[in-house]
């Protein structure tokens, strides 16, 4: 904990020194950015925009994770499904995020549906590939056991398959969350009338670096809170059965 604080203090010091060298217009000092965060917070704009972005992140993330898990599980378990789905995956994996976003807006208009679909589609192949890897390494011995004891489909999924996939799901969720929020900002910049991405776009046109940093920092703080209070406790719960090192 101490090392982390020292490291954080060092970052702020470097930032401060940088702002002295580059000038407040290019890199405002930490204090100015903190004041801007407070300002936006007081007017309610910060909460409104953070909320809009967070909602998009949540919906796109959930859709991509659910679809990616189901498709990944099926592809990992069935050879034929793997062969059928693999070319699609390669296309999606290599399609630049920007192309998917622009096409979604062109085809579906500048709508919320298009925005969320574009983000989910960007995240989907990565979630699928990760879960597929997990499904390929499922333990056949436990499968046999479940079959001999005639466990139902739900019992097998919940108690035999999902616990084995948990590390892969966690990895997909981790990398997915950071990817999704970055893409959501681009989607907002290009075609939404609110959200952190939209605000950063406006600030870019006004060359308002203070506001850009203020929104970026506020959002990083939110994601950090989600990681600390949601993701990590969940991981601890899922790993509760592992014998702890003495």
């Amino acid at each position: 904990m101490g090392a982390r604080l020292v490291s954080l203090a060092l970052l702020i010091a470097v930032w401060y020194a940088g702002s002295q060298l580059a000038g407040a217009r290019l890199l405002p000092d930490p204090q100015a950015v903190a004041l801007a965060v407070l300002d936006e917070g007081r007017s309610g704009a910060l909460a409104f925009n953070l909320g809009a972005t967070l909602a998009r992140v949540a919906v796109a993330f959930i859709i991509a994770m659910m679809l990616g898990s189901v498709i990944g599980l099926i592809m990992g378990r069935s050879r034929i499904a793997d062969r059928l789905g693999d070319p699609w995956l390669i296309v999606l994996l290599n399609l630049p995020a920007l192309v998917i976003i622009v096409l979604a807006y062109v085809w579906a208009g500048l709508t919320e549906t298009a925005a969320i679909a574009a983000v989910a589609l960007n995240k989907l192949p990565i979630a699928t590939v990760t879960v597929r890897e997990g499904a390929r390494s499922l333990d056949h011995a436990l499968d046999d056991m479940a079959q001999v004891f005639r466990m139902g489909a739900w019992t097998r999924l919940r108690h035999v398959i999902l616990p084995q996939l948990a590390p892969y799901l966690a990895a997909a969720a981790r990398s997915g969350l950071s990817l999704v929020w970055k893409i959501v900002l681009i989607v907002e910049l290009l075609g939404r009338p609110n959200g952190v991405g939209f605000e950063i776009g406006v600030a870019f046109q006004l060359f308002d670096v203070t506001r850009i940093l203020a929104y970026a920092l506020a959002f990083i703080a939110v994601m950090l809170a989600i990681e600390t209070f949601l993701v990590q406790p969940l991981e601890r719960h899922v790993a509760r059965w592992r014998p702890r090192p003495a």
Binding site: A141, D144, M145, Q147, R150, H159, P163, W241, R242, P243
Partner: protein
């Protein structure tokens, strides 16, 4: 063919079973092999290592359907199986492992099982916290908790020390005496086979056939040590001849 339909009866009639090797060839594991287990009968399949005992058990369990021949299981029968390794779900406690396999088990039924197998203190432990001996007991508890019509045991006490294996064998015998169940036991340990089974089926090296069907006279307790030793020697001799 014996009349079908008797509860707990197993009819096995295998023509042959082979595996495809990686080089594209065929390797025959089981030859023509047929036997019937009456209701409540305990049979031990005894044979040299690698003769296809586990393959045979997998066929009976319905885990391997790629063979020529047929298996008639007890009608609507419930299977209980103890694998060579405990095969517990590491992320569920001892009690959850048993209950997931046997959702209809009653609390009193489980209490008795855990009592007999010495697992009372371990109900809430995870498998990673158990010794191999305890984990094997959990696997036994799981197989008995489903109240099986057919019990399949695949070398259930392999890689345990002699004293512990002997104790578990006694516990298994007690469980079978409490509730007689048609049982097929795979082992290469003759003491174990004679101690638990009514009938020994001796298998040849692969492709496996049945060499001999040796009854073990009941009640087992009536055997003197000398008689048991003589029986064991007789069977060991037959087995060693076939292996050469």
């Amino acid at each position: 063919m014996s009349p079908a339909g008797a509860r707990g009866q197993l009819d096995l009639n295998i023509k042959q079973k082979s595996f495809r090797t990686a080089s594209g060839g065929k390797f025959q594991v089981l030859g023509e092999l047929a036997f019937t287990l009456g209701s409540g009968e305990v049979a031990a399949l005894v044979g040299p290592s690698g003769c296809g005992k586990t393959t045979l058990l997998r066929i009976v369990a319905g885990l391997d359907r790629d063979f020529e021949g047929g298996v008639a299981l007890p009608a609507h029968g419930t299977l209980g199986m103890v694998f060579q390794e405990p095969r517990l779900l590491p992320w569920r406690t001892v009690e959850q492992n048993v209950r997931l396999a046997a959702p209809r088990a009653t609390d009193t039924g489980l209490d008795t099982l855990f009592q007999v197998l010495g697992l009372k203190a371990h109900r809430d432990h995870y498998p990673g916290e158990l010794s191999l001996g305890l984990a094997r007991r959990v696997a036994l508890a799981r197989a008995f908790a489903v109240e099986p019509d057919l019990l399949l045991l695949d070398e259930p006490f392999v890689s345990l020390d002699d004293a512990l294996a002997a104790r578990l064998r006694e516990e298994l015998a007690e469980l079978v005496n409490r509730r007689p169940v048609t049982t097929l036991l795979v082992t290469h340990n003759l003491e174990e086979a004679i101690g638990l089974a009514d009938r020994l089926l001796l298998l040849s090296v692969s492709p496996a056939r049945i060499l001999a069907d040796v009854p073990v006279v009941r009640p087992r307790a009536a055997h003197t040590a000398a008689e048991l030793a003589a029986l064991r020697d007789k069977i060991a001799q037959r087995l060693s001849q076939t292996c050469l």
